[in-house]
Amino acid sequence: MNTRIALTTLFLTSALTSSAFAATVPDGTNLAENQTFTYRVLDEFSSFDPQVVEDVNGAAVVRDLFEGLYNQDADGNNVPGVALSHTVSADNKTYTFTLRDNAKWSDGKPVTAGDFVYAWQRAVDPKLASPYAWYMELMSIENGAAIIAGEKPITDLGVSAPDDTTLVVQLSQPLPYFDKMVSHATTFPAPKWAIEAHGKEWTRPGNMVSNGAYVLTEHVLKERSARERNNMYWDNANTVLEKVVTLNIGDEAQGLTRWRAGEVDRTEIPAGQYPSLKEEFPAEAYALPRLCNYYFTFNMKSGPEAFQDVRVRKALAYALDRNVITDQVLQGGQFPAYTFTPAATANFAVPGVDYAGMSQADRDAKAKELLAEAGYGPDGEKLSFTYLYNTSESHKQVAIVASQMWKQKLGIEVELANQEWKVFLETRGNQGFEMARGAWCGDYNEASTFLDLMTTPSGYNDGKFSNARVDELMVSAKSSSDTQPLYTEVEQILADEMPVIPVYHYSTNMMLSDAIQGWPINNVEQNWYSKDLYRVAD
């Protein structure tokens, strides 16, 4: 088999420098005696089962309890987890992972390639019916889709374990970013014997067997959970934090109060409070780039007639002063957006789309011109439409500001409507809107996680934008080794066609006690591992 070994070398190198993937405590650091980290979570976890967990907070716990093929380092790059390295076949469809032989489950059993095979088969098993089966489908593993559809047995999944330390994955189509997807919770190994012994109860403290740096020791529904270091973990010697506790705090303001009282080390910042908190706690208030975008989508299928005219869509996009929204309304370190894909995305250079380079005054002038050309505005037909968003204070503020801008600059009447979250999703999914709020967080750190939304077959393309060239480019991106030109062209088409108005790219706003060190502030997916953190003495 012809193999490419460039990637392999990279991982082997980092595998040899072991400090790259454990808590890196500088010499002379005065570590706290009590190595406990306590943080707030908004609501109850969906599950601690790696193949079942759906929520971000649950996935963070699962990343501590289990270890997949690769982990991420502080910058979001892959570093060895259970796998030391991998090779890729010449047709880019076969990935062979070499696993470490010293990885152990918390009950002392060795972690083998077979545990991954079992877990991956489990993830697509219609009997388990994991909602995250879609992720396995996205990974293009051979026969994945057919198994989910119940057409093939789970044993046909394109994953096998020729021996205990070799895992072979067969893809149905080349996927250049496949290796980036194996640090996701759904792909973590699962202990067959524990699951068979306890059934659904296997995720309870005491029943759970896990292979990560921590083991689950306590879980009180809707109140707290605790995990403590796993003595069987292969890199346990380099773990510093002894215990990690989550406290459920439903109210954001209350989370902040309890952070101030020292009850939690980390909490989210309530909307609009970042500037004042940054002033009060300069070293503890963070606004970090995050792999999510915020946009307005036009209903291209059944929206108002005017939205069929690209000049109207562009006029609305141009007249929106994004700096006002990020700097004066949200004030949480968000980034004004002119492209769909956030700048923070790995291996992606933001293309210079024309309107991004203009001054706001020029954009406003251009917007008026475009709208007049289309026959709307002060001298033409009166334009009005409804903007739909899901009920939330900050979405409301953005909606009010945007509608005022459009009214003052272009004379457009915008009616604002809001719906409860699930009602909103249903309405938007059925194209029951004229213009609607949209937001997307990347499933993996690569531009296609965003741009795929703009393709015709995408189930998430609620505006029903359809462009043959975009579809074609995104298909070729799946097998291309140089994707930047393709993504640049897609973004150019989006800027020319403006099926959605990019508004801003998200930031993660949090208060983190300065006693907690090692937080991966540069990891735009905010995939953090407690084993990389440590607590310093006051």
Binding site: D43, S46, E54, K222, R224, E426, T427
Partner: protein
């Protein structure tokens, strides 16, 4: 009285059934379902998920299965949002919490409310009466979403006396603020009711007779006046007690107690039908049984009511 109790119990069964059927269909009228999400599931995945929870069946079959499982095995079904938990487990985890602080809250309401009312009535139109009445009105208009943050500000942030939230196995420090936050406005209600009825009783002929007989004032109040004066309070406390032990959504969310009030709101947002239905049933059963207990208590306190049963 046994006959009466049995009659009431027999009537409770169709009430619960009606509630289950009504709530079952009503919840499904809300747009969106438990598996509606920002990232819509591909059709094949959705089909598997629906099948897994029996939601691919017609609604009446689902309802029938639901009722059957409750009757045969006391099984309220799986939760849709907490994937590896059953509704039984969720309620078993949250209800004791709510019950505990709800109970202490009720104790707080009675221990503070009744003496306040009695004192105000005994010192009618005096400074004490005005103070008590003023205090009662003040706490009644002071909603718990104002009171709770103020308490946290004082007891947690300023004085560091109590934790700002959590439960920690129900240690007393964690119960104080939820119990007071939940109870304050009811305490005011109890005080005002007690004052009113106490005044009425104190002016009634049998109290005059007792006084004429030369009974000591303490005996008059404790033995003769208090019991009848508490009847309206009892009526008031019935539904309030159910409300207290089934949890206030606000208190549970604000103090992160882990009680079932939180499940109401989470269940509604996530369309966790089975959790909501389970809670509705609990609420219904509790209301019915506490009302029965109250009616029996009435009979015990008031001979007139006893004869009517």
């Amino acid at each position: 009285m046994l006959n009466y109790s049995l009659r009431r119990l027999a009537f409770a069964i169709p009430t619960i059934f009606a509630l289950v059927i009504f709530a079952f269909y009503l919840m499904r009228l809300a747009p969106g379902g438990p598996f509606t999400s920002e990232k819509p599931l591909p059709p094949a995945v959705m089909a598997n998920v629906l099948e897994r929870y029996g939601m691919d069946e017609p609604l009446y079959v689902q309802l029938f299965t639901y009722i059957k499982n409750i009757l045969c095995c006391f099984d309220f079904g799986p939760s849709f949002s907490q994937k590896d938990r059953s509704v039984n487990q969720i309620i078993a985890s949250g209800f004791p919490v709510t019950l505990t602080y709800g109970f202490w809250s009720a104790v707080f309401v009675l221990i503070c409310g009744i003496p306040l009312g009695v004192i105000a009535a005994l010192r009618h139109n005096s400074f004490w009466d005005y103070l008590m009445t003023g205090l009662a009105i003040f706490s009644q208009i002071f909603p718990n979403f104002v009171l709770a943050p103020i308490m946290v500000l004082l007891f947690t942030l300023s004085w560091g006396l109590l934790p700002g939230g959590g439960w920690n196995g129900g240690q007393w420090q964690y119960i104080v603020m939820p119990a007071i936050g939940l109870g304050t406005s009811y305490m005011a209600g109890v005080a005002r009711l007690t004052r009113g009825s106490m005044l009425e009783v104190l002016n009634s002929p049998f109290i005059r007779t007792a006084r004429a007989k030369g009974l000591p004032e303490r005996t008059i109040i404790w033995r003769h006046a208090l019991k009848p004066a508490l009847l309206p309070t009892l009526t008031y406390m019935g539904p309030v007690f159910v409300y207290m032990i089934t949890g206030s959504v606000f208190i549970d969310v604000f103090f992160s107690t882990g009680g079932i009030g939180q499940d109401f709101i989470d269940g509604a947002y996530s369309r966790d039908y089975s959790v909501l239905l389970g809670l509705a049933i609990i609420y219904c059963v509790l209301t019915l049984s506490i009302n029965l207990v109250l009616d029996l208590l009435y009979a015990w306190i008031d001979p007139k009511v006893r004869d009517a049963l």
